[in-house]
Symmetry: C2
Subunit: 624 residues, 2 copies
Amino acid sequence: MQFHHHGYVTTDPRIQPAAGIGLDRPADLPDEMDLLIVGAGPAGMLLAAQMSQYPTISTRLVERRSGRLEMGQADGIQARSVETFQAFGFAERVIAEAFHLTAMNFWASDPADPSRIIRTQRTVDDPYGFSEFPHLIINQARILDYFAEAALNGPGRITADFGYELVGLEVGDGEHPVRVTLRTASGEERVVRAKYVVGADGARSAVRESLGMRLEGTQALHAWAVMDALTVTDFPDIRTKCQVQTAQGGIQLIPREGGFLYRMYVDLGEVDPNDNGAVRTTTVEAAIAKANRILHPYTLDVRAVPWYSVYEVGHRLTTKFDDVPAAEVGTRAPRVFIAGDACHTHSAKAGQGMNVSMQDTFNLGWKLGQVLLGRSPESLLDTYAVERQEVAKNLIDFDREWSEMLTKDPTEIPPEELADFYVRTAEFPAGFRTHYKPSIVTGDEEHQALAAGFPIGKRFQSAPVVRVADANPVHLGHHARADGRWRIYAFADTEATELDTWAEWMLASADSPVTRFTEPAAEIDSVFDVKVVFQGTHEQVDIGEVPDLFLPRVGPYGLVDYEKVYATNPEQDFFELRGIDRGGCVVVVRPDMYVAHVLPLTAREQLGAFLGQSMLDVRAHVPA
Amino acid sequence: MQFHHHGYVTTDPRIQPAAGIGLDRPADLPDEMDLLIVGAGPAGMLLAAQMSQYPTISTRLVERRSGRLEMGQADGIQARSVETFQAFGFAERVIAEAFHLTAMNFWASDPADPSRIIRTQRTVDDPYGFSEFPHLIINQARILDYFAEAALNGPGRITADFGYELVGLEVGDGEHPVRVTLRTASGEERVVRAKYVVGADGARSAVRESLGMRLEGTQALHAWAVMDALTVTDFPDIRTKCQVQTAQGGIQLIPREGGFLYRMYVDLGEVDPNDNGAVRTTTVEAAIAKANRILHPYTLDVRAVPWYSVYEVGHRLTTKFDDVPAAEVGTRAPRVFIAGDACHTHSAKAGQGMNVSMQDTFNLGWKLGQVLLGRSPESLLDTYAVERQEVAKNLIDFDREWSEMLTKDPTEIPPEELADFYVRTAEFPAGFRTHYKPSIVTGDEEHQALAAGFPIGKRFQSAPVVRVADANPVHLGHHARADGRWRIYAFADTEATELDTWAEWMLASADSPVTRFTEPAAEIDSVFDVKVVFQGTHEQVDIGEVPDLFLPRVGPYGLVDYEKVYATNPEQDFFELRGIDRGGCVVVVRPDMYVAHVLPLTAREQLGAFLGQSMLDVRAHVPA
């Protein structure tokens, strides 16, 4: 956490100084705005927190509810999401508050006495060390609280405008081409205009419907009861995630935060095609009775059920994530986007919904920011739908496979096969299988071998280093914040000679991305946060010899920022851990933490050309 | 963090349900109260946060300032304090916000050219692994903020009453024997009465003076300038704690939170006995000029100085920490206590003041709680002065030695000797040398060998275990909260047979401390939080076979608390790490986290007798 460089801070440094619109934010919804976000779920709230880092952009968020969400349905937080929370500054608090999911046990009917269940297998959650962050379970409402705080504490001071329902949307012309009709709780209609609109308004998205798009896919003829319960039981794994498989149906049990509550999915079996929703009238008592039959010889004495629902699994995907039909891409830029459940719905079994929704808008936010600030051409916005549509399709496919497996009894899928699938495919539900294809913001693999541990198009996986100036062992990736900046990591060659040449070029050349893409009046690291990792230990690095690029002057006092210069941790050599070539290299990371490119230190023109695909030369905007 | 057992919690679980006086806390200072705390510094605010966990006790805190402290002088947070913050529930936030002190470098005049300084040694901060928590540097004002939040979020909902200065205090008779005269900012006087008063009102404590006590000791004839500064410099260790020794005097430099600010102590040299405070007029410019001479050939270009002061080192201690003179101890119970700077003042060089002050009131709070609740006799209160007076004396002695060493030039104390002293004595400034002597709350060493890693009278040093119910790797000590409860850790014998006998006795015997010292209407773990650690792995423990003592029913639903049953972590066997006898044992830990006793599982009567020294049989209070 860095502060004091703009003056002494006596109160909570998480509250950033207000700036731009945040200095005097209108309390009431204005008639015109740059960006309108519809829906205050995980996708919408992450986007609000992200846009609060762009305080000169006018962003509003409208939500149909009258206030804060009391109880969310989602609860699974994959490690990828916790990494994202770290970037938004609240990971440590969520980690302290949430349940840590470190194991999953499998139970099935005892072959010797099928009326009884036995534990067939224990597995470890994250057997591969995908992330330094844990897998968590916590109420979605609390995640929204944390994002709301981040949005309010950011320079833009964004808060939700509650009580507005979207009833119509049209894309026209002009500076604010999107015309949105809202309705208040009292029934009054109000028209506002925005440059861009993001519909994060859930499975029954009014934004999506206004665009004439539907969720397409299948409704499986299989129903589940789901509840959050407080229970006294002799079932020994009530505090461990479990999958129970029996001929009478399955149960998935997931412990929740706080030490007592758990989520339970009870298999209600196949649904007759002519059921017409009758299954949804299944009572909580009936679901508990069924759970008791499945868990025999163990019993559940349920004392309270704060939340209960019945649903039939559906797997559906929208045709497009923005308002430009596939055939028209390139002829005009998108003005309306949809994200989260508005784009994709599926079962809750893989704990994915909230996570993928947040990554949707984390992908979109910085792109909107760059375009609205004039740093990037509108074409950057086309990459959102391309990148996230593929992720959603993979999600639907994975979830269909997994949720169908969960309806099988032990004779159809042996318990060990279920456990093996769960462990083998763990990278996907942990959130790390997303792999963006080459585009204007994702490079090709020509030089991938220089940093084998940073696959281009996948998320930047942090690892330990030592900060030179203060000998602090830190995680390299944790310095990155969700502030819309690109990260460029320079890994030094053994003698740091190529590094010096590269750093001088970056700082001083008229062709360097820093020179071309940073507004002249802005601080030098305001667009690109450039860091260096040396091959030696911190004691071997002389801070006086480090190029100025990595020790920028910041704030009104022109102070030196010492937090961009790193050495290896002798116990965990970063170069070994991430397969970095000893000749050094440059790893470019997008503002949403995905590796954009890997290049040699000598490929300076290639670096400029790559970034020039998605960024505008902002020097040209300034009168000579 | 445990919640939901008293009903579903949708908002921040750090906000505990209000209870007792917290349900309808009077906004204005009442005329009578159980406990009056004077002073909202670290000692007073910790005590307020502690007493908020005793919501049936009426506690008020008055402070002369009109509001929140803007800038504190103290900044060093020893690992012991971070352990304490963990118990108060905000360690992870302070850790995220503070500077982490992991190294200290020593500089001295270059023997080859005494006009220049050179780095003579690098040392590692906490070379011994005293704690799993780090050594931090952060503004005292922020620590007060966190305690204020804990006090407000506790069931007692305690907040400070600002703008009240204490002008008089008398101890008389009656139910509220302490008569306190307060003055408001507008000069009005107000008399309130309390059962007990704690003076945490600083070095010029009005409470202490009302008791007719003084700080006694010496004023060293040596002055230092101290500043928090924002600087551009070529000194390479500006972000590392440094001690610089030259013939012109020394500098101590301590980086601060946020990445830019640092604290600098500049040696102003010996002070003439007839100086009469003239040294205190030394300007900040003069201090900076002197710093530049000492640091030559490096230069400091100071851009801002948010805080500056000049002081002469004093080492002073009060005669007694309560209002009962030594000769009268045992004849009457203390009614007034002093804590923190009101008792002990010394140099800032060892970073101790705020830390020792907080431990003063952490020692006192639970004792006041137990006496005011009727759980303990008033004699318990005598132990406060005994225990903390010795700590204060050791502190004064240590600080005198260290701060005198820092005034010596390299010819008087070779730099390597200074560094050696710093590393060798590191346990003291880290806060872990406190070792309470046998008393009614600290046992004798008869069975110490059963748990060699838990010295009786020292703080309980946590270590990793695995929670059986959910396979979570956790730190055993982190489950303990600053809630006034005693912790009793039962370490199982290999076959757990002695454990079973002990557990049954604890739960059911008329002689057990749980039976004798827990109010009949209270939850079974409300006084003693009893946990078990088994010798095997979590997979080897059958939760169905664990004695009921360790799986208590809690809350209105009678839910099972699963967070008291632990197994060893195979990679870090707790029994090995802490030298626990394989025959098992019982480790009793006081509410302030100090080890009170180590006993065999078979020494049941001895356990009851030990606790009976400081606790009252509360069954007797209930009509038969």
